[in-house]
């Protein structure tokens, strides 16, 4: 694998994570538990879709085949997507979405802190911007974590179950394969093993202060770094890509 091929896959991964997470969050539009929360979820969705556009645009430039960010979003098949499995899981109930957001925003804050010092200037620029946005996402998820965990018996039960169900999807956030190793050597990407210990230090006190039991799981899900996904991604793509598949190159 050349450095350029590694960079392309890496950018797809950054872009796909944000795109699929943003797409899922957008499903809360008009279905939030109340108006302000509806706006919060869709604002966070917008930030994600915005950064995905920036990363995929850069990926298309690195690929150098004259594609656009829209080609990459709408014309790739499921096995060519590299988003983490957790992002494609259905939104579930509100507690489930908050749990997903806490896990992902803790990860995003740490990753973008590192990437804002990337030797690749374009990645560093997008990361510096995304970091500021992710900090707001983190605070939002953290505060809801406290409320749900220490709220009613019902909210605690739902939130505890969500954290329990999602925990087995956290392992692959820190997997490093050839792509990450090549780019780490170049000073472009970061060390995900170091991110792992920082992530634990960030999320554990929040879960403890939310009266949430830290799950112990024997098995961690994996596969997305090879483009192997859960059944859910295909359903997302069939919805998201419908228009471009039915009417190729249609424009607004």
């Amino acid at each position: 694998m050349t450095n350029q091929e590694a960079l392309y896959i890496y950018l797809l991964r950054l872009g796909d994570n944000a795109l699929i997470n943003g797409h899922r969050l957008a499903e809360w539009c008009s279905r939030g538990p109340f108006l302000e929360e509806d706006l919060a979820m869709t604002n966070i969705a917008l930030d994600n879709i915005g950064r995905s556009q920036a990363f995929l645009k850069y990926a298309a430039a690195i690929d150098g085949k004259g594609k656009t960010e829209d080609d990459l979003a709408y014309k790739r098949g499921e096995r060519e997507f590299y988003n983490h499995l957790i992002t494609e899981l259905p939104i579930g109930d509100f507690a489930y979405t908050v749990a997903k957001q806490l896990i992902m925003s803790c990860f995003d804050v740490l990753v973008f802190t590192d990437l804002s010092n990337s030797k690749d200037e374009t990645i560093a620029g997008i990361a510096a911007k995304a970091l500021k946005e992710s900090r707001y996402h983190f605070v939002h998820a953290r505060d809801w974590s406290y409320r749900l965990g220490k709220g009613t018996e019902e909210s605690h039960r739902r939130y505890q179950n969500a954290i329990q169900d999602l925990w087995m999807y956290t392992g692959e956030l820190f997997e490093m394969n050839e792509v990450e190793n090549i780019l780490l050597q170049e000073g472009i990407s970061n060390n995900l093993q170091e991110v792992r210990s920082n992530w634990i230090n960030l999320i554990m006190p929040i879960l403890q202060d939310s009266s949430i039991r830290i799950p112990t799981v024997d098995y961690m899900q994996t596969g997305s770094c090879k483009g192997i996904h859960s059944e859910h991604l295909g359903h997302i793509l069939s919805d998201m890509q419908y228009l471009q598949r039915a009417y190729p190159d249609a424009k607004w």
Partner: protein, 165 residues
């Protein structure tokens, strides 16, 4: 005959200074700090723009506005380039800009940078209507990506707060 060489960088900045933020029409894109640079060459003109938020839906409209103003004024081959680095910050808004926002009903961040990001609500936000500092946050995410929703405890009016970024 009008040629591109007749347009200096200063002249192009002057033309672009009429373009307002479509979501906050009392301030221009220059006042918001989004208009970073203009690169003029013999047959082309490139405008360097830094988005406030990566997903800001106003960017498309702003790009179109820039291109149409430049084309109307006979500038050949105008283009817009989005640059993310250095990242846009509310620190780039001047005091005059913040005062314009306040008159429009939007409280602007008064502190210089977002040092206390773990507690973004730990700031004193004055009501843009009655200037009271007895205010409270309703939601960190408001009507647009860049604003939070607050409410004044004295005059009882809700208002937008331009988040520190």
């Amino acid at each position: 005959m009008v040629t591109t060489t007749a347009h200096t960088k200063e002249r192009i900045f002057e033309l672009l200074s009429t373009i307002v933020d479509p979501e906050i029409p009392v301030v221009t894109i220059a006042e918001m700090g989004m208009l970073r640079d203009v690169i003029v060459s013999y047959h082309a003109c490139e405008v360097i723009l830094t988005p406030t938020y990566t997903g800001c839906p106003a960017m498309g409209i702003i790009e179109e506005d820039i291109l149409s103003v430049l084309k109307e004024n006979g500038i050949e081959n105008p283009s817009v380039k989005l640059v993310y680095s250095p990242a846009w910050t509310t620190d780039w808004m001047t005091d005059t800009t913040k005062e314009k926002l306040r008159k429009f009903g939007i409280a602007a961040p008064t502190h210089s940078y977002c040092s206390n990001w773990l507690k973004p609500t730990d700031v004193s936000v004055n009501c843009p209507r009655c200037n009271s500092n007895h205010t409270h946050i309703i939601s960190q995410f408001g009507s647009t990506a860049c604003k939070a929703l607050y409410s004044c405890d004295d005059c009882k009016e809700p208002f937008d707060y331009f988040k520190c970024h």
